[in-house]
Subunit: 413 residues, 2 copies
């Protein structure tokens, strides 16, 4: 269908108006609306798959890579997964109205700090059409209006998906922007109207946004994560965890990119670890001491310590103490997820206190940094920023709070 | 003394290094250091007052206004106040290490969400030299290194004050920038080094900063605050609160700027309120209905509803319902502090849920929005932003958190 395109400003202002109604919508009403969306996704699957087929055809004509075509593609099983995700979000506790803190002041005023929605959340994303539904469901469940901006490659799929979500919520609460890149700057300067932008995309998108944004932005994280095997580590645990952190899903931000090994166990641990990693198809890039204990490892460069490979590549370094490991992690890490494998209570404590990262693990894989794994429900991304949201961005992180103060006539002396 | 000026980048990097030591400094050590600073401020009062005299002399030569000269001036009583403020900050609980939340995951992982310092906090401020000590003490107590940038007018005073604070903490933990405005852009682009900038100054400073900042900034709030007198209000309480909110200290952000009165009590309330306010020297600017009930009120313009007067001026409007009051507040308010005076539980609840502001009061003055009044200890400002800190910015708001996760060999399935 052809519709006249309203401006980004008009769309955002309508979302702001809708956000007032959403902020006081009961949890039961929000959940019922989400369940209607989940049902409608299944009922209208033919329509969704037909729109998706048009996106796929255009993608083939435009020579999209196999990887991008796969991200773009929907099928009945993926659609069922999207509907199930919406039902899971409906089943989560409502973050709105939660009393975070509260106390009585000496003058008798009663003060409560209560979680409330941010207002209008904008999500900018690339190719995967499931994000249209996921991001909308998370924003709406937390009482926010949502402005979605997907990629042109998924335009037909996104339009149908958004048209299925929107009618279940107040007018204007779900908006899909369909214009060109020039919309980014307009969106990013809606101060006082858009309360938060979350970009889910590559470095190009982040850079473009950071140059124009006046609205608060939480950038999805890059993860240069480390596993440090301490002198006193259980080496069986260490081997399982290192392989898991690197291999189980190498393309995600909580996968390990560098292995640090204490010199005291390097000669015992590295040959076996190297063999297991090579067998799993991992390319090793090692410093001089580690290379001497690893078959066929390339020499690591300074860049390798900084790199988020997002692939079956692992940098390896031998260190002389947990202090040196902490120093390396704080120098080269991106503050995402860091793990120590150790039997020493002292080393574990020093690592947890000393490492400056969103998540610091003792004797566990970095791969657990995830809203679902953490029991927070679905997430809209992971943050390595320090303000507001650090780690998984779930329903609570899409909220702010206000102080409600009740008295019986108090005036300030 | 003449010293070679290190670059802003060098100063910030040294602060970052110092922040690692500060992050694990015990509460007892931080408090002892703050108490040494308080003592030193009193012991070296002659030196401080002499430096301040030089600033005052330069101010007179440069024709500073009386108000600015007063802000700049120190005397033994003000100095004792500054030292006492440091002692009060030392007496507050340490925010670092506080467990905010925690739970066990189904796979046996134990997760704690623990408060930790941000790292490096920069504070940009104008004229008042006491901010040098206040801001430093708050940042250091919360485990952060601090980069201070005061105004040229207070250069001598600030230099002595910073030289008294700095030796009590690790090298580099307290830095004072003394260069020109060009330093702002350099400071505001220290991404990954400076974790937060807090500007305490006028709109010009905020605007200059917002145009260059890549580092997160929390802007001190402007407050266009309202008191709404509902149909069922206790009118004696209402009168006391309205006068308090407007008159007790009109130049601050939590003072009231607009009075809204329900039509049902306007004829009873406004003549008496108008007389009391006029007696206190308040100029009234009223809409047509209110003006008919007030002696000598000027006609309010659209700009008056938007204005933060910060002076003995009050806009007055008659509304027909609490819904209309909420709508007015959300349209014109700055999201700082809003109050309803009412006997109706329904109206109180509707106002608290419907008003989008940091602090929403029932039957109390807006003037209580303050870290000290809220029992949070000293504050470094008030935020009307929604992300990270909303309302008073105290010790906790100068912190972030990290997730500490402990297991016994868990890898992700």
């Amino acid at each position: 269908m052809a519709v006249a395109s309203p401006s980004v400003t008009d769309v955002c202002r309508a979302a702001k108006r809708a956000s007032r109604a959403l902020a006081t919508m009961s949890g039961a009403d929000k959940d019922a609306a989400l369940l209607r969306v989940a049902d409608a996704l299944e009922e209208r699957s033919a329509e969704i798959l037909e729109a998706n087929a048009r996106d796929l055809e255009a993608g083939r004509e435009n020579g999209l890579s196999d990887a991008l075509m796969d991200r773009l593609a929907l099928d009945p099983k993926r659609l069922a997964g999207i509907a199930d995700a919406v039902r899971s979000i409906a089943a989560l506790p409502d973050p709105v109205g939660e009393v975070i803190d509260g106390w009585r002041l000496p003058n008798g005023l009663d003060l409560r700090k209560v979680r409330v929605p941010l207002g209008v959340v904008a999500v900018i994303y690339e190719s995967r059409p499931n994000v249209t539904v996921d991001a909308a469901a998370l924003a709406l469940k937390s009482g926010n209006a949502v402005v979605l901006r997907g990629s042109a490659a998924a335009a037909h799929s996104n339009a149908v998906l958004a048209s299925i979500v929107a009618p279940a919520f107040p007018d204007g609460a779900v908006a899909l922007l369909t214009g060109g890149r020039e919309q980014l700057a307009e969106l990013a300067t809606q101060e006082g109207v858009v309360d938060l932008i979350i970009p889910r995309g590559g470095e190009g998108l982040k850079k473009a946004l950071s140059e124009v944004a006046r609205v608060p932005v939480i950038y999805a994280a890059s993860g240069n994560c480390h596993v440090y095997v301490d002198a006193s580590a259980d080496l069986d645990d260490a081997l399982r965890i290192v392989v898991n952190a690197k291999v189980q899903r190498p393309g995600v931000c909580n996968a390990a990119e560098t292995l640090l090994v204490h010199a005291g166990v390097a000669s015992q641990f590295l040959p076996a670890a190297g063999a297991a990693l090579r067998e799993a198809g991992v390319e090793l890039r090692a410093d001089e001491r580690a290379a001497a204990l690893l078959d066929g490892a390339a020499a690591a460069t300074e860049e390798d310590w900084l790199e988020e490979f997002l692939a079956l590549i692992l940098a390896v370094k031998v260190v002389d103490s947990h202090e040196e490991a902490i120093e390396h992690v704080n120098t080269y890490g991106s503050g995402h997820s860091e793990a120590i494998i150790t039997g020493s209570a002292q080393a574990a404590r020093a690592f947890q206190l000393g490492v400056d990262a969103a998540c610091v693990y003792v004797n566990a894989s970095t791969r657990f940094t995830d809203g679902g794994e953490f029991g927070m429900g679905a997430e809209i991304g992971n943050s390595t920023q320090k303000l507001h949201a650090r780690g998984p961005i779930g329903l609570r992180e899409l909220c702010t709070f206000k102080y409600l103060v009740e008295g019986d006539g108090q005036a300030r002396a």
